[in-house]
Amino acid sequence: MNSPDAILRAPGPSLLDTEAPAPRPRSRGFSAGMLWEVVRTGLVELWAHKLRSILTLTLLMLGVFALVVMTSVLDGVMDKVTTGFAGMSWDGTVRIAPKAPETAEERDRFAMSPGLRYEDLGRLTAPNPRVLAFLPRAQKEVSVRVTGGTERTWVIGVTSEYAPWMNRPIGLGRGLTEDDQRRRSTVAVVGASLGAKLFGGADPVGRDLVVEGVPFRIVGVQAPGQIFNDENYYDANGLLIPLETYMDRMDPTHQLTQVTVKLRRTRDLGEVSAMLLGRTRQAHHGIEDVEIVDLDAEAARAYQNFLQQMTGWRVVLLSLAGTVLLVGGVGVLSVMLISFSDRRFEIGLRKALGASDHEILIQFLLEAVVLAAIGALLGTVTGALLCQALSASFPYGLVVNPLGLLLAWIVALALALVFGLYPALRASRLSPMEAMR
């Protein structure tokens, strides 16, 4: 320990001299140095009380995590389903298909009709100015044989117009042509999933397969795409062959599963439906054993339904996440309240040394904000990681929803401010003597 003399004789500026107090700058506001002091003190406090900090941080983290993941997943699902609806190409589309008999009487009556057949097409698909395309389709389940083995699948007879109108692009090789239909060629376009199943990574174009004893040459492969309805599923997992070939080789009774009709204008729907029904009734000896489905309206209904459900989910999920965040906010409140009573002495001392009420207030508020920010940061990181992990199952990947992220941060910080305010106010109002007692 130095002797007092050493202090007297110590070199350097005369710090202990009060005769000429140097005027020093005194900033009125909250300086950067103060900010750092506050953040640092906050971190030291958090570190000193790890358990309670971790509890609160976990709650805040979970809240932000939930908000981020939920908004992002909802976005991803929206994307996926919206893409699906768009991919169905059901705008201005009706479908005519055999009707299932509802009563015994109907069943007996329907039996008198030959049903929806290839032969109906001549009359049914006679050119009409309101119709852009008639797309007949016939389908049955079969087993196909390739060099590797046998596979259960579907063979589907369609016209050359089917793939372009129904939005089934070709990935490799070529699609079916009118020429194929005319020549009744035994060629096939395989669905993307079936192609992968049968041939693995290899190029199937030019390979042969045998369907119900009939050899077919593969001329093309469909491009992989979204599966959003049954028809689409069969197409991706089956074989498209020329309609005429199908009728000759696959089904001697010439049954059609449906005829999809693309309209020039959606508002012609009523008239076209009536026309279609009229034409089939004639062919079916006056028996109305088919029905018309307005796919456009059906899709719109389904989409509307979906949007409604999404809104419901959004509300449920956001309130869940909000609740977790709220609990996190209460956690902040209790941490700050405990901290406030733990640190009465410190508050008093800081005030005795010259901290003003609002400096103490800001210190406590900032500590709450630092706590919330750390929680939010952890939640953001974990949320982003989960989004990345889930990314593969969404059409456009799963990116963190920036709005959700912003919302989560705003809610977390706002809660910290709101719940930090009360302890902060209490701390700032303490008189230095009271606090230090």
Partner: protein
């Protein structure tokens, strides 16, 4: 010589009605600039209460207090904080250091609230620690220091903003006599440098070293002696 402390009829009543404690009952008292005054008196006589009022840590129930020529009564909380920060250096019996902050940061604290820049704070705090003889402990936590060393830190901190008045409430009360004497030497040194010093003590040998002794009994000035 100008007057730094002037009080008139200061009273302090704790509690209310039946349970009221009259800690101070009319203190008329003055300290001139550059003086070294010892405040003595039995336990419970009101010394700490008076010091808190003089240090603007508490307000009197009645009476007037002029610090450095300016009445303290009616000042806002912010203005009082500035006075505590810039005009007064307070040394407590129990050191009152922030346990989780380094010695250096403890000394920097009043300068932080004064709005001093980072470098200036650091330089000045180091110089002050040098002056009180414990510069080598700058990065330690208070727990690593002895009582005497802690009180030196507290003195360095009290000097941080070059206060016009140093108030010390039993600064040697928690120290053994040898360390206490060393700390007292430090105070005498400061007095020699021109600091105004008001020091509460129970120890007659310490009180004897002051220029002037003021005794409080039962919340009243009982006697004053020594050069004024």
């Amino acid at each position: 010589m100008s007057t730094i402390i002037r009080t008139q009829g200061i009273t302090k009543i704790y509690g209310a009605n039946g349970a009221a404690v009259h800690a101070l009952r009319g203190i008329d008292f003055a300290v001139e600039k550059g003086e070294f005054v010892a405040l003595i008196g039995p336990s419970g006589s009101g010394k700490s209460t008076l010091m808190a009022i003089l240090g603007c840590l508490d307000s009197p129930s009645a009476g007037s207090y002029e610090l450095d020529g300016h009445p303290v009564h009616g000042l806002s909380g912010g203005e009082l904080a500035r006075i505590r920060n810039g005009k007064i250096g307070f040394v407590f019996q129990s050191y009152n250091l922030l346990p989780k902050a380094s010695i250096l940061r403890n000394v920097e604290l009043p300068m932080l609230y004064a709005g001093l820049g980072r470098r200036d704070r650091r330089d000045r705090a180091l110089a002050l620690l040098e002056k009180v003889g414990i510069a080598d402990k700058a990065d330690k936590l208070p727990a690593a220091l002895s009582g005497g060393q802690k009180q030196r830190v507290a003195v360095a901190r009290a000097l941080a903003n070059e206060p016009a008045l140093l108030l010390a409430d039993e600064p040697t009360g928690a120290l053994d006599s040898r360390t206490g004497a060393e700390v007292l030497d430090l105070f005498r040194e400061l007095h020699g440098q021109g600091h105004t010093l008001l020091l509460v003590t129970h120890d007659p040998s310490i009180a004897a070293q002051a220029e002037r002794r003021v005794e409080i009994r039962d919340g009243l000035i009982a006697s004053a002696e020594g050069a004024a």
